[in-house]
């Protein structure tokens, strides 16, 4: 299924709105310390929802090491959700780094019979080399492949900007010193879970 950028954009906006609902900003009259995370305040959130899983990660990060349940090894906890989130965010960051440090390179045709090649850097400067024998259909296919590659890059960067904004909101709920950096993997997991839910919902509607 072709991803629609406008739909993705609205998914990302909605992720941030839902996060605002989860962590409402304290009113000016209330005590500022009310921002800190309070498990009891969120008991009505469905544990399996993206919000529920985010709260579980926050709880895991806020729980002192000594109080964490140990299952197999000295530092291996039963849930391990935070480790998984960190690993997945790491893979995403590697991809983003590749996008911003390298050219997008799209080639069409075969090694024996190349049709076209386009190299485009992340600021958009593009160089296309066309084979003299390429037909209009070949060139249309090449343009379509290029468009798809650029769309993928745009979507990843849009997701990255959403994750950084979401991490800023989540970090307000983290009180343990040094845990703010963990807001990024948590935000990534939250946003990607919401995105998966939307995609599943869309494919249900299309079937």
């Amino acid at each position: 299924m072709e991803t629609d950028f406008a739909a993705f954009e609205s998914e990302m906006e909605s992720a941030l709105t839902r996060l605002d609902d989860l962590f409402p900003e304290p009113s000016s009259e209330s005590d500022e310390s009310a921002v800190s995370f309070d498990v009891a305040a969120y008991t009505q959130v469905d544990e399996t929802s993206p919000e529920g899983q985010l709260l579980a990660l926050i709880h895991e990060a806020e729980t002192p090491e000594a109080e964490k349940p140990v299952s197999f090894g000295i530092s291996e906890t039963v849930s391990g959700g935070l480790d998984k989130a960190r690993e997945e965010f790491g893979a995403f960051m590697e991809r983003i780094n590749r996008d911003v440090l390298n050219f997008a390179h799209v080639e069409s045709g075969t090694a024996d019979s190349p049709v076209a090649a386009t190299r485009i850097n992340w600021t958009g400067d593009a160089l296309t080399v066309l084979s003299a024998g390429a037909t209009p259909d070949d060139l249309r296919d090449h343009s379509e492949t290029l468009r798809h590659e650029l769309m993928s890059r745009n979507l990843r960067l849009r997701m990255f900007s959403t994750v950084t904004i979401a991490a800023g909101k989540i970090s307000l709920a983290l009180t343990t010193p040094g845990s703010a950096i963990l807001a990024l993997p948590m935000a990534y997991q939250y946003v990607s879970q919401l995105s998966k839910q939307w995609q599943a919902f869309q494919s249900l509607n299309q079937n």
């Binding site: 950028f5 960190r86 690993e87 965010f89 790491g90 893979a91 960051m93 590697e94 983003i96 780094n97 911003v100 440090l101 019979s113 190349p114 076209a116 386009t118 485009i120 992340w122 600021t123 958009g124 400067d125 593009a126 160089l127 296309t128 080399v129 066309l130 084979s131 003299a132 024998g133 209009p136 060139l139 090449h142 343009s143 290029l146 468009r147 650029l150 890059r153 745009n154 960067l157 849009r158 990255f160 900007s161 959403t162 950084t164 904004i165 800023g168 950096i181 963990l182 990024l184 993997p185």
Partner: protein, 104 residues
Amino acid sequence: MATPEIKEALKNVATEVAKYVKDAAVLTVKTQTVEVGAKAEPSLAAESTIRLDGDSTTTLPVSTNDFGKSEVDSVIYDIHMQNVQAAIDYRSKIIQSVIDVLLP
């Protein structure tokens, strides 16, 4: 990826994002043609330069038709303009994401 590596990856992206703002003033799209199998270098067929202030320049190939008039090669023109549009769309969306990262 451990926490120090996440910090390093973020630093790399932040550096590239800052550099992006400097490099974003001009967008250049070039289209070249080449004879497959020949050892000739690709030759420039069309080039567009679009500046942030809105000025843009496009150089297109023309040939003289049977009536002695110059006409643009429509196949090259179409693919080049598609590439220009793709580059503009790509850049505008990237700029929006960069703004979101820098000014959330």
